[in-house]
């Protein structure tokens, strides 16, 4: 029996479908959820959330949040969530650059400001990583199509 996955942010429902496996960035490390998993409630860190469905693999950049697993239903309450194909690499690079710049002035930042800048950097890096991996996965598929023509 497959898992029902829902990814929700405060702003919208990002994803809702039946899937075979979810690999999430838990605060204690990555964790994979398969059907019949015990009820679980965990905080998520900034990172990549991967979803397997048949041969397909989807990828999301998650900016922290929680995940609830209950009776083959997985609900991800994310602060931010973007599908790999939605990510604008140029904007993520820009965000990374800005975060790095503010980190350089660490002497003038309060501890909280420093933590915020660091979180922004981690989010940007995750988005870039997720987006790039997605592009790489897409590439072979594209070549196959050309061969068929």
């Amino acid at each position: 029996m497959p898992l029902r996955l829902e990814i929700v942010t405060g702003e919208r429902l990002v994803f809702s479908d039946e899937v075979d496996m979810v690999i999430a960035p838990g605060v204690e490390g990555q964790l994979g959820i398969l059907p019949k998993h015990a009820p679980l409630l965990t905080a998520l860190s900034i990172g990549e959330l991967r979803v397997k469905k048949g041969q397909e693999e989807l990828s999301f950049a998650i900016g922290g949040g929680f995940m609830e697993v209950y009776k083959d239903k997985v609900i991800v309450l994310a602060d931010t969530a973007e599908r790999a194909e939605e990510i604008d690499i140029a904007r993520a690079e820009e965000a990374r650059r800005r975060a790095l710049e503010s980190l350089k002035e660490r002497g003038r930042l309060s501890r909280e400001e420093f933590a915020q800048a660091e979180a922004r950097l981690r989010k940007a890096v995750t988005r870039i990583k997720v987006a790039q991996r997605y592009r790489r996965l897409q590439l072979p598929k594209f070549e196959e199509e050309e061969e068929n023509v």
Partner: protein, 296 residues
């Protein structure tokens, strides 16, 4: 009586105004719809977060968190949500009146009030009456992201956890329907502990532990409540503006009709006068001729 040209000019200016108000009405209608949809979309998250809180409340021993802490009330904070711009009918007036009434109840008992204003109208009003504003936010975009709203909630939580205020309320205009919007004042902090659901709580594995999960959920829950209040307020603002602008357009139409009648009357009167002039002139001419003929 005004001249024809004056009336014509008046009609033209009223018509121009009515075109603007009609355009504003349509813009407000579409913005209202989108704010409404956004508010609906964020409800799913809020509901889920609340469920998580109920599981956590069922933890053996119960969990404590600074945002749960109820204290004797010496000072309160209010997040007041108004609009930046006017031309939205009684929207700002209604929420300000409700807020002032609410504040008076506390001030009478000698309880201090610290305000966090969102929107220019509320800030200006409270400044004029010399109230204590600790933070102000203006130029909140239409359909903002949670990231943009988070600082507002952050200030409220800081005020609460640092003990500057013992309760925080949020005053906003709840969107009931296109024609009804109700000023609402809701308690934000301390967060009311939900009734525990013990059956579920025992089953869950918490990672890293229930206390940490709670510490993550509560601030986000507060942010979300502020976010939703702002979305509802925006939907209310736009629908208030839509109704106000529709009334303005209708009034303009009525005025144009009245002016058109007056214009036609004036025009008719002018024609009559000219005809009387001509008739009078002709009569005088005829008489003059008769007299001259008599003499000859």
């Amino acid at each position: 009586m005004e001249t024809l040209r004056e009336i014509r000019r008046h009609i033209r200016s009223v018509r121009n105004i009515s075109q603007i108000t009609r355009a504003m009405e349509m813009v407000a209608a579409s913005k209202m719809l989108r704010a409404q949809q956004q508010a609906l979309a964020s409800r799913a998250y809020a509901q889920k977060a609340w469920e998580v809180l109920t599981y956590l409340a069922g933890q053996p021993g119960g969990l404590a968190h600074p945002l749960y802490e109820a204290r004797p009330v010496k000072a309160i904070g209010i997040i007041l949500i108004t609009s930046d711009r006017g031309l939205c009918g009684p929207y700002n007036h209604n929420i300000l009146r409700a807020a002032v009434q609410f504040m008076l109840g506390y001030m009478d008992r000698g309880i201090g009030i610290r305000l966090i204003t969102v929107g220019r109208k509320g800030r200006d009003f409270m400044l004029r009456y010399g109230h204590n504003i600790v933070a102000e936010f203006t130029k909140v975009r239409d359909r903002p992201t949670i990231m943009e709203i988070a600082p507002i909630a952050r200030v409220a939580m800081d005020e609460f956890t640092s003990g500057l205020v013992d309760e925080v309320y949020i005053a906003y205009t709840r969107f009931v329907s296109t024609i009804t919007q109700t000023p609402t004042i809701m308690k934000l902090l301390p967060i009311e502990k939900p009734a525990p659901e013990e059956r579920l709580a025992a089953l869950y594995i918490f990672e890293p532990d229930p206390q940490t999960v709670l510490g993550e959920v509560l601030p986000r829950f507060t942010e979300l409540q502020v976010y939703q209040a702002i979305l509802e307020a925006q939907a209310s603002e736009h629908s208030a503006r839509m109704v106000a602008m529709r009334n303005a357009t209708e009034n303009a139409q009525e005025l144009i009709n009245e002016l058109t009648i007056r214009f036609n009357k004036a025009r008719q009167w002018n024609i009559t006068r000219e005809m009387m002039d001509i008739a009078g002139g002709a009569e005088a001419l005829r008489k003059a001729r008769g007299i001259r003929a008599g003499i000859a």
